[in-house]
């Protein structure tokens, strides 16, 4: 049985091969977050104190800064993909849903950008 619509067959349209993109990105980001999140929790709880000097010194180590950037970017990405599905599932009014999706996406982009900016600022040594 063909699942293509008669109109689609006449117009010669088909899959844009992007149907699995959301699914695939969610798996990729989750796979990356397994080691990244474990590293983050262990690294954070291993800090001798949360004094500014200690935290800033930690953040300015090259490997810490690199992994923190990856953690924030991939974490925000995974979060955006997840929250998007929740909104699509439970917010039924079309207008409210679209608006919520716009706000959610912008908020995640802002958080990711701010996080990366903060890490790099400390890592490149321009924090006061």
């Amino acid at each position: 049985m063909s699942l293509r619509s008669p109109l689609g067959r006449v117009l010669g349209t088909g899959s844009a091969k992007e149907g699995v993109q959301h699914w695939w990105l969610q798996r990729l980001t989750s796979l990356a977050l397994v080691p990244l999140s474990i590293w983050f929790v262990v690294s954070l709880l291993s800090l001798p104190s949360f004094d500014h000097a200690i935290v800033a010194a930690w953040m300015s180590q090259s490997w810490t800064a690199l992994l923190l950037v990856l953690f924030v970017v991939v974490g925000a990405w995974h979060s955006q993909l997840g929250v998007r599905v929740v909104v699509e599932d439970y917010v039924h009014a079309t207008g409210v849903r679209t608006l919520t999706l716009v706000v959610v996406t912008f908020a995640h982009a802002l958080l990711a950008a701010a996080g990366v900016f903060a890490i790099l600022k400390v890592a490149f040594g321009s924090a006061a």
């Binding site: 397994v34 949360f50 925000a76 979060s79 929740v86 599932d89 958080l111 701010a114 903060a118 890490i119």
Partner: protein
Amino acid sequence: MPQRPLSPHLSVYKFKYTLATSILNRAAGLVLSLGLPALVYWLMAVASGTSAYTRASALLSLGVFKLLYLGQLAAFCYHLVAGVRHLIWDTGRGLERAQAQRSAWVVAGVSIVLMVLLGYWAFLAGARLS
């Protein structure tokens, strides 16, 4: 378009372990999303210098935030273990009913053990830091 019922319909499913593990994973993911603004706020505070950091630390030490950290810890443990279960499912393994039932118990057990261990460590770290 005809108005067809769309999944997920929380109210029409019988409450079973499949529903419980699935909705818990989603809830845990949402809780973790709430942690993201707090994390970024903290990172921005570090980048803004000592006085800004002192102010942010005072805010982040409030009881509301301690509750948030507790939620983050529990949600992280569950979401991590349940997420690995999903990744294993994606390879086509463990999808039989008996296997899925067993792995649901494994997820519950492992995540609770992880919560206790990590909670104890975080409590020790909290006691040391304050």
